[in-house]
Every structure is written in C-alpha cells, then in structure tokens.
Symmetry: C2
Subunit: 172 residues, 2 copies
C-alpha cells in the first residue's frame, strides 16, 4: 500500500489553497491541501505498524513548529507545479531529516523544499500564464502546526488518514 | 466550523465502497468511505479543543470493535441513499451513545443506523434500479476498527482529518 506523512494547514490556508487548486490542480479532490514531510512510500500491512510506531516516536520528540507561507513559487522547468512557498526553518529541516533516518527505511528522493502545491500538470504555456497571475497575488501567512498525519492511498487515488501524531516534544 | 467523527474501514472495504460511490455518490470526492459515529456538528476553534479532549477520553475508554458489513440496504423512502449495512452490535451502540452524552454537547438527530453510504442523491427511479442491482451483489465482511477520526469541513465541502483517537480501553 502507498503511504505518506503530511501536515494539513489550518482551514483558512486550506480554503485559500483550494480556491486555486479547484481550477489548476487535477489532484484537488484526491487530498486536501497539505505540506508533505515524507513523500510516498510503499509498505505492507505488517511493516506499516512498525513504521507507524517509529514515526510516532520521531514526531513526539519534536515541538510544534511555525508554518510561514511567504509567497508563490514554481518547480518549473523540473515540473510544472506551482506552490505556496513555506519558509525552510531549522525546525522543519530537522523534522524532515528525522523522518528519513535509517530506521524509517527511506532516503528523501528530492532536496526538501517545504511547499503546499496549488497547481500542477499544466502545459508550459498554461503554467507561465497562471504563474504570472498567482505571483501577483502574494502571500504572507504564519500559523502553528502541532500535528502530522500518516495517510494511505486507495486504488482510485484518494488518500485516507491512518493516524495523527502530535508534536508534543521539546526538540526544535 | 463543521466537524464530525467517523471510522474509516480498511482499504479493502473502502476500495469496494468506492467502486460504487464513484458512479452513484456525488460526495465521492469530498470524503473517503466511512461510517459516521457522530454526525455533523458546529464548533468554534476554542470549543473544538475542549470537545476534542472529551471525545478522546470517551474513545480511549472503549476497546477496538468488529465492523461486520452484512449486505446492502437503503434509507428510502426517507432519503434515497443506499449503504453497506453494518451490524448494530452492543459495542457500537455503547460507543455511539457515549459520543452523544451531555458533555459532548449534542444529541443524535436520528436513530443510529450504522452504515457506509455507497449511493445517494438519486431520483426515485434511479434509486430503485440501482438498489435492485446492488442488493444482488451481497456482502459479508468482518474487520476490526481500532481508531476513530475527528474531521472538519473546508468551504468547498472537502473533509480534512483533524485528529485520530485510538480505541485502547477495556469497555465494550
């Protein structure tokens, strides 16, 4: 089964992201707006119980962090995806690193760029038009994230939450 | 904000439910297949922290329960909704009752009929056709539910999980 670990931002930021996603992101209905902390990985029903415990242990050691959305950016030309850029703080880097340590089985595939996707799978022409528009809108929003979620994917692509982990620790 | 408490069944049962929902349920993309334990209620950001703690206390007292899906049924003529019927066990009745006690603020609006909706918002003609088909398919499936989820609804109707509660107690 496919799993991932994400933070869901507040309803306010999710509503804002969805106002773009409903037009520009074909994954709009598969998952609500999120910031990925551990990208998609495969695990069996038995493996996930062990992994889930390890993830809980990691998350519980860390304290709630500030999600600071600072504007709109794009992964083009690597991929035509536009996102809310999230400040890459030391707290986020440490949490992301801890979620990719050996006991958690998998190295991060890409450099960590904290983000909330709002548009993707566009042609280059569409991308450039939309990106120009969205950049003008601007964004400067702070909020506290105090929990992460472990999700699994259904056959038709929809994501279901399996478990919530609270950031209850002292580590940054 | 709107909240609800649900159990998500296993991927296997969710995939089966979605094979019907994608054709017959306009809420298909708003939430993955679920059994509602506490129907939609309104709460503010401050109220929900208190409510969430009360819900956790209730859920933690109860032990994991068996979800036994026994077939396909319909709420017609009350409403044209077709669902996987779930055995109304004593464990489920007690859990549902405890989730509607005074400290949790709200009485249940309807008699509790444990179910997983697979089709809704049809005309009576459509309902009768589809119901006849689905009833023939049959269903007899057992699984253990060991957690509930507290969800909130975004402006565009999509549901996000706020918290997971494990059924870790001794009560039936």
């Amino acid at each position: 089964m496919k799993y991932g670990v994400v933070a869901f931002p507040s309803k306010k930021l999710q509503d804002l992201a969805n106002s773009y996603r409903k037009r520009y992101d074909p994954h709009y209905s598969l998952i609500t707006p999120h910031m990925t902390l551990k990208g998609v990985f495969e695990a069996s029903d038995t493996e996930i119980e062990v992994l889930s415990n390890s993830i809980r242990n990691v998350v519980q050691r860390h304290k709630p962090f500030t999600l600071h959305a600072t504007g709109v950016s794009s992964f083009a030309p690597t991929t035509n995806a536009i996102y809310f850029k999230v400040d890459k703080t030391e707290a986020l880097i440490n949490l992301h690193e801890d979620l990719h340590k050996e006991s958690l089985g998998l190295k991060a595939e890409h450099t960590f760029v904290p983000h909330i996707t709002i548009a993707q799978k566009m042609s280059s022409g569409e991308h450039d038009d939309i990106y120009a528009q969205l950049k003008m809108a601007g964004l400067n929003h702070d909020e506290t994230i105090d929990r992460l979620h472990l999700l699994y994917q259904l056959e038709d692509g929809y994501w279901t939450v399996y478990e919530t982990f609270r950031l209850t620790g002292a580590e940054n």
